[in-house]
Amino acid sequence: MTTMAFPIPRPTHPTGIWNWITTIDHKKIGVLYGVTAFILFLTGGIEALLMRIQLAGPNQDIVSAEIFNQLFTMHGTTMIFLAIMPLSAAFFNFVIPLQIGARDVAFPRLNAFSYWTFLAGAIILKISWFTGGATNAGWFGYAPLTSVQQNPGTGIDYWIVSLQVLGIASLAASFNFLVTIINMRAPGMSFMRLPLFTWMTFITNILIVLAFPVITVALIELYFDRSFGMNFFNVARGGDPVLWQHLFWVFGHPEVYILILPAMGIVSEILPTFSKKPLFGYPAIVLAGAIIAFMGWMVWSHHMFTVGLGPIPVTVFTITTMAIAVPTGIKVFNWMGTMWGGSMDFKTPMLYAIGFVAMFTIGGISGVMHSMASSDAQQQDTYFIVAHIHYVLFGGAIFAIFAGIYYWFPKITGRMYSETLGKINFWITMVGFNLAFFPQHFLGLDGMPRRIYTYDASMGWNLWNGVSTAGVIILAIGILIFMHNIVKSWRKGELAGGDPWDGRTLEWSIPSPPPEYNFAEIPTVYDRDDWWARKRREVRRGVPVAGGSGEDEHHDIHLPQPSYWPLVVAIGLFIGGIGLVYPVGMYAISMVGVFIGTVAVYAWSFEPVNDPEEGEQAAH
């Protein structure tokens, strides 16, 4: 076959900044995702810190009401869309191909595109702080507070556009990982042998693929209302603000499972590894994950118990929501079954994983308390909810993400983090976290509404708000220690070797950091936890444990080459998106973005995919 003449040669930067910009290596993209998302997590954390300082005492005036409203809206949006989701995506990128025994994801360039588009969306959201005010209607942006009449500035528009761009990034990534997991498993890696993290990623991506179009449509409708005077949520023309709530939560509830399922996957990897036991009830855990994902579609109105849906819908949603505790309980109990009788080694990842189980259970139980609509009538929109969300999101998702960072740190960097600092970090975080968020339960039950920028001294909320703020400061110290540990160890930690934890899954069978091609030879899988089983087999047969030590490099492995185009398409989206916020001259700016994007899409699809085919033939 002829190789097409293509005007622009593919980039070939072995190192340096251009290497990172044009890379389509899933491991590097994973690192990019991780670092970017962590920085964004800090920005969300600083927003939270400001809120907490304002609320530390009654009647304080440190930030104004307007700023406070922007702070919590940006905080929620940032943490959910710019921190946890991309941090999970970082693990998808780095870990999934390694766990299933693949050389890369199914669409390496699409993968780079996802990352750059995510970055574009993040920048769009964050620059709105500096363009006349960020969005201020809460992360779920209830109509009609988001209408032009109520909210004439550009904050809401930035929020809409940013979420749309982030949606494109998430969807592209999810299609990619679905195909990767279905289609790039090593020989013998049947579905019931998939590592649990891969399973949960698979389920999460199905959820993303189905949930994001819903928010896309809701945001389109909102945008049309704001920009073209349409009537979707316009009460005066018969529109119903409750429709926005339904559309948002049809997306929003699956979204919270999108946040927690990867975390559950991470924990399901770490607990067996450090207990030296296989996961207890693997099929049950997988099935429970699938059931949670499926039932996640039937519960959304539990966010709307006070909306006045009528007693029958409220009863239905109460019962479906309560039912979700059952599959989740299956997971929790099976994790405990995994540890039971194990030989537990309390390395930092393990501490965080156990912390996850402990803290997530608290958040889950408070979730069940809201699920009973009668008691939720007193809890809805109070700090009791704020406590719930932080127990499941911080005590759940973030704990698991920290566990995952520590766990895979040696694999990613080839170096060991400092165990002492790791432990200190864990305990400070644990104490700070509980101090910060447990008292919020009390505040909520004492009637403190959420989203208030101030409160009166006579309300009896002073003490616990003060404690909560103090807890956050401790928490922040913990996070600083974490950063210190990571940065220091990355630069000069001890060398880790390929398999520091006596790992179970395939990523531990290769050197750390993994070579560009991952596996010199695509492994054939005979067992669940194949690497662990292989080691034990070999020990039994007296063969020295191989692997994890680096092997010969001179394989004729052809890897996909870097490309400029994913970045250029993302730039097109960025410009196009900004143009939607400022519809000057019939969307002239957007047209520029669309033009750049279109040219780049064509260039992308004509770009020769990679190596000449002779090489490929030879490889087989």
Binding site: M1, L178, I182, S190, F191, M192, I206, V209, L210, V214, D240, L243, H246, V250, P283, L287, W297, S301, L309, P313, P608, V609, D611, P612, E613, E616, Q617
Partner: protein, 121 residues
């Protein structure tokens, strides 16, 4: 392009094995689709059908939907199963039908919540 090239080749082969439809089949399907559309159009003007029109039209459009999906989109033919929990799940159908079922569920649930069926508001 090589990888895809190969796949395509394998694929064409596979289609031969599974008895891919001929243009004649496609043509027959097209005729059926036209007839069904004509039927819809005709039935539409039968006023005595009253509310009966809803199930009838629903059925006809579902039939059209299935014909296109099965034959034109080849769901009948190339739809390899993967084994999950010991069951063979045809993967393309799974992907599409998952979207379809959830979408239909959401549409109906929202209609019920907004009292569409009970004639409220």
């Amino acid at each position: 392009m090589s990888q895809e090239h190969q796949v395509a080749e394998e694929h064409a082969e596979a289609e031969v094995h599974t008895g891919h439809p001929t243009p004649l089949t496609y043509f027959k399907v097209a005729i059926t689709l036209s007839v069904l559309t004509a039927l819809e159009f005709g039935l539409f003007y039968l006023e005595w059908l009253s509310y009966g029109i809803i199930p009838v039209m629903g059925f006809l459009s579902a039939a059209k939907f299935l014909l296109v999906a099965m034959f034109y989109m080849h769901l009948r033919y190339d739809n390899v199963g993967i084994s999950i929990f010991g069951r063979d799940v045809p993967i393309f159908s799974l992907m599409f039908v998952a979207g379809l079922i959830v979408a239909a569920g959401v549409v109906f649930a929202l209609m019920a919540l907004f009292a569409f069926f009970t004639g409220g508001a």
